[in-house]
């Protein structure tokens, strides 16, 4: 009997050894960890339950039957993060370069199915060389099975991808369909076709880093939501992110005891808005002083920085923050900012996370670059996302809310639940000068008259009170009371019930 039990241990040892000591050392030398080491960092100590440790591929072509490693290049299972369930799969680069075979795919789809059935987040750790060429179409079929499950799980459970090595070809589309992608600087890259193919087809010479490194994907392409300096940093931050996320679309947002009083006043917010309307200020300061303990998990912080998105908590419960950033491009809405915020709003709406919108927006960015780039449709995405969202929506206008951008930013007209404005708010069609030159076209040329008209316009329209008179703004609030007002609004909205008309799904302008 003892021998039988011992043989299990021996088999396990073999599986845990992955691709062997030399390959593990090579992995470490590159600044990368093994799949199992990564899992150790991600999960609570001792909480990992591994499945399919002994799965092996069934390929026979190209002498593949002579080469078997238990686990087949991916480690799968479940565990807990601060006591809450997560499912995960981690590609093992030391085994067949982490390449995807039919059985490898089956291990992943099994975990995907379990995660969906049991309604808990799934995290994929990527570090692999793509499809296992030797298996041909069987591997491609495997990808398809994974993709299909990504789509079915989308909006039901949070799906997170962390790219910790190469991720190319068929491997990129599973992460692309998940909610968030994170990367590790210098050791990870993502592209559909690699530098060699690029060179052959288009004659462009690029390095892997230039083509699909963390910096490209966090700033230019917006594929990745954030990059970290190393794997330990990345995985510990994933634990922090999980603490913000509900388990599924039917679960409540997690709640954590907070030491930050919901009634806390912050007098310094009364001076946040500069004297001059043309002077920027940092919206991050308002976020830090509004949310619990200043703790903010920013999403897409390096891309379209004119809008800020991320998770925080109010009175211990998760909220999503969408905020114009006057510090960058005056907080204008352009195509990138609209897409970035729209995707974030839709994530929050999927998972019942209330949305706090902080508005200081001078309008949409004019110009051929934007119009040719489809600003109308990209802007519409954000409009659509806010309008369809049924989660609690609390909006604070701090300064400018001009033109169509006023409507878009979670206004009362898009079913904003509680819409507040600071006394410094300017809710209008446009700034004074532009408005006066249109309304009083005849006076153009008479500078004195225009100046008087502009002053009149400013006094009448560049305030929150015209909107408040119509009930578009529920209340004009003191900046220092913002946290208290928002906390109370969210508490009141805890029981919010709102349903959109039945539909198969909507047709957001993609």
């Amino acid at each position: 009997m003892k021998e039988i039990l011992e043989s299990l241990e021996a088999r396990r040892e073999l599986a845990r050894a992955g691709g062997g000591a030399a390959r593990v050392a090579a992995q470490h030398k590159r600044g990368k960890l093994t799949a199992r080491e990564r899992i150790e960092l991600l999960l609570d100590e001792g909480s990992f339950e591994e499945f399919d440790m002994f799965v092996q591929h069934r390929a026979t072509d190209f002498d593949m039957d002579k080469s078997h490693v238990p686990g087949d290049g991916v480690v799968t299972g479940w565990g807990t993060v601060n006591g809450r369930t997560v499912f995960l799969f981690a590609k093992d680069f030391t085994v067949f370069g982490g390449s995807l075979s039919e059985t490898h795919a089956q291990k992943i789809t099994k975990i995907q199915d379990m995660a969906l059935k049991n309604r808990a987040p799934i995290i994929g750790l990527f570090d692999a060389g793509g499809a296992r060429i030797q298996e041909g179409v069987a591997a491609l079929g495997g990808y398809g099975e994974v993709f299909q499950r990504n789509v079915l799980a989308s909006g039901v459970i949070p799906q997170i991808s962390v790219i910790m090595g190469p991720c190319a070809g068929g491997d990129v589309y599973s992460p692309a369909m998940t909610d968030f992608i994170f990367m590790v600087r210098d050791t990870s890259y993502m592209f559909v076709t690699g530098p060699d193919v690029v060179k052959t087809v288009t004659n462009e010479s690029v390095t892997a880093e230039e083509l699909g490194g963390a910096s490209v994907h966090t700033t230019k392409s917006s594929i990745a939501d954030k990059a970290y300096d190393n794997e330990v940093e990345a995985l510990l931050q994933m634990r922090r992110l999980i603490d913000f996320l509900p388990e599924s679309n039917t679960a409540d947002v997690p709640e954590i005891p907070t030491f930050d009083d919901g009634e806390r006043m912050d007098m310094s917010l009364d001076t946040l808005i500069p004297q001059s309307a043309n002077k920027p200020y940092d919206m991050h300061e308002l976020i830090a002083k509004l949310v619990d303990e200043g703790d903010f998990f920013e999403i897409q912080e390096a891309h379209a920085r004119n809008i800020i998105t991320g998770f925080a908590r109010i009175e211990g419960r998760t909220v999503g923050i969408v905020a114009n950033q006057p510090l960058v491009l005056a907080g204008v809405l352009d195509a990138d900012a609209s897409r970035k915020a729209a995707r974030f709003v839709r994530f929050c709406d999927c998972f019942s996370i209330p949305i706090i919108t902080l508005v200081d927006v001078p309008g949409f960015l004019p110009g051929t670059a934007q119009e040719y780039g489809g600003l109308i449709k990209h802007g519409a995405k954000l409009l659509f996302a806010f309008a369809e969202a049924t989660v609690p929506k609390v909006t604070i206008i701090t300064r400018k809310a001009f033109g169509g951008a006023y409507d878009v930013m979670a206004s009362k007209h898009l079913r904003g639940d509680v819409n507040y404005a600071w006394p410094t708010a300017q809710i209008a069609v446009m700034g004074a000068k532009g408005a006066v030159e249109i309304i009083f076209r005849a006076d153009i040329g008479d500078d004195d008259k225009i100046a008087t008209r502009a002053k009149d316009y400013e006094e009448r329209f560049l305030s929150p009170f015209v909107a408040a008179e119509r009930g578009y703004i529920d209340e004009v609030i003191m900046p220092h009371a913002t946290r208290r007002r928002v906390a109370r609004a969210l508490a009141m909205l805890r029981g919010k019930m709102l349903e959109n008309p039945w539909k198969k799904h909507d047709n957001i302008p993609l």
Partner: protein, 667 residues
Amino acid sequence: MFAKILIANRGEIACRIMKTARLMGIRTVAVYSAADRDALHVEMADEAVFIGPAEAAQSYLVADKIIEACRATGAEAVHPGYGFLSERAAFAEALRAAGITFIGPNPRAIEAMGDKIESKKFAHAAGVSTVPGHLGVITSPDEAVEIANGIGYPVMIKASAGGGGKGMRIAYGAGEVKEGFARATSEARSSFGDDRVFIEKFIVNPRHIEIQVLGDKHGNVIYLGERECSIQRRNQKVIEEAPSPLLDAATRRLMGEQAVALARAVNYDSAGTVEFVAGQDKSFYFLEMNTRLQVEHPVTELITGVDLVEQMIRVAAGEKLALRQSDVQIKGWAIESRVYAEDPTRNFLPSTGRLTRYRPPAEGRRDGVTVRNDTGVYEGGEISIYYDPMIAKLVTHAPTRLQAIEAQAQALDEFTLDGIRHNIPFLAALMRHQRWRDGRLSTGFIAEEFPDGFGLAQPEGADAELFAAVAAHIDHVQNLRKRRISGQIRAQRPHVFALKRVVRLGNAQYHVRLEARDDALMVHRDDATTTAVQSSWVPGETLWRGLVGGVGVAVQVRPLMNGCHLGHGGIGVEARVYTQREAELASLMPEKVGRDTSRVLLCPMPGLVKALDVKPGQEVKAGEALCMVEAMKMENVLRAERDCKVTKINVQPGDSLAVDAVIMEFA
């Protein structure tokens, strides 16, 4: 007594004067420039008058605007504070002509003491000790030796037209005088085209000691002890104290009496300061007299219990001094630190911007220790580029010097400031400096002790124990909270955190085992030393206060990714607390090298681009001017660090830049 006074100043001194005025039942009028609309002194005053644009030359320095403001508000007197119009005789004169009282000395006294040569003559005539020297032209080496012998060694031979150390020689004996005279003469000739030199006594390791005097319009003058301000950086006082650790009662009386004699000689009728340079042997020589309230006046107030502003107002109103010299008693010791918006780790470059967080230590008297914080800012206020970047004057008073230093160190540790760079770490490091604690001071202290500037030290020894214990406690509190997140699968048995942990302070690692007791967290290190930590710190607080090994400690805490930055006593470190396994795996992570800044010119401070001296494609030599950035009214010329070629310029004149903005790139 006046019913209403105007304070022709801004910032902390305006606020400080208003506090006393309010106590005396006098209404106050503030004046403010465009940059100070939301300033604290405006808020504090009963009335405020706008006096023009931000530039001081067009607002705070315009006498007519101040007088106009007095007329408009009916203010009967003006307190000028320090700086701005405080030492302009013409202003005092103009006020008199307008029938408004100047809360300061009579214009003639200001004039007499404002002139360096005339003030020395007055001093000499009044029997005040002046630096021995010979101001006449010296024609030969032998004459130089004769004069030097008369003065006593060492002596300094200086070019009359000199400056910047050129043509300056120090001589310790007759031989050196001969040689030095020849050298100084020739250097002076080649540098300035003027070979005249003079000789005066050279004071080795000089100290700056000043006497506070107070006079009235009835011929009474007293002195209120001394202040020592030897801790200076480039002639800017950094730390002041009273009394001076150098002086004994006899020297104090001698200096005080000379200062009073000088004040009498000019009919001095307000608060003023007679500055001396002192040798380590307690010899002292007159430098100059400041005919105003001094920045560092609070240390005198704390050791004498006299409110100097109140006295100034009373004597200006014509009252006789109620104090006689014999009433002046010195009690305890007071230390003042000047908290500036400047970055000590970047050669003290000024920093401006919004004070996103401003939480000074609690003021008041407790257990014989007084903490006083004179300030003109508030959380959410702005440190503007237009004026002096002083944020606050933090003053502590205790029975002994060491107690006052300890109180100051503790108060500095508790001072929370964000949004701008500040010199608190440097001040805190000074408070721990042994030579400062020993009172072995000289005006060269900072240059001698910090020859390579200031950098945040890494904790070592007992400091490392303290930082590790605090980091472990912070992590423990956070973990306890994480255990209480909702939605756990085994709510009755929440996830348990390992109590064996690894604290990383920068690159150093400390293995600790935590043991939670009812009253304290025991941090066992390597099973050898144990530190008990008691604190009610909760996540989100930027100041950690508690007991570490039974000793009260304040540590600044700022969150970092997966950790926090801890600051205390001029030491700062990034702290991360890992499980043992996390630490093992973290040690496999490659060290990331910082951004290569050798090929770019970064803006060292927030400022305005005034001029660009180069064009793209231009070759520049090391030391060549690249551009000029204006900050805090200072024009800073940025120069090439090495020979290189400019490839790209990212800014234009008129752009306003943040710290570390890339100005240009090089090949």
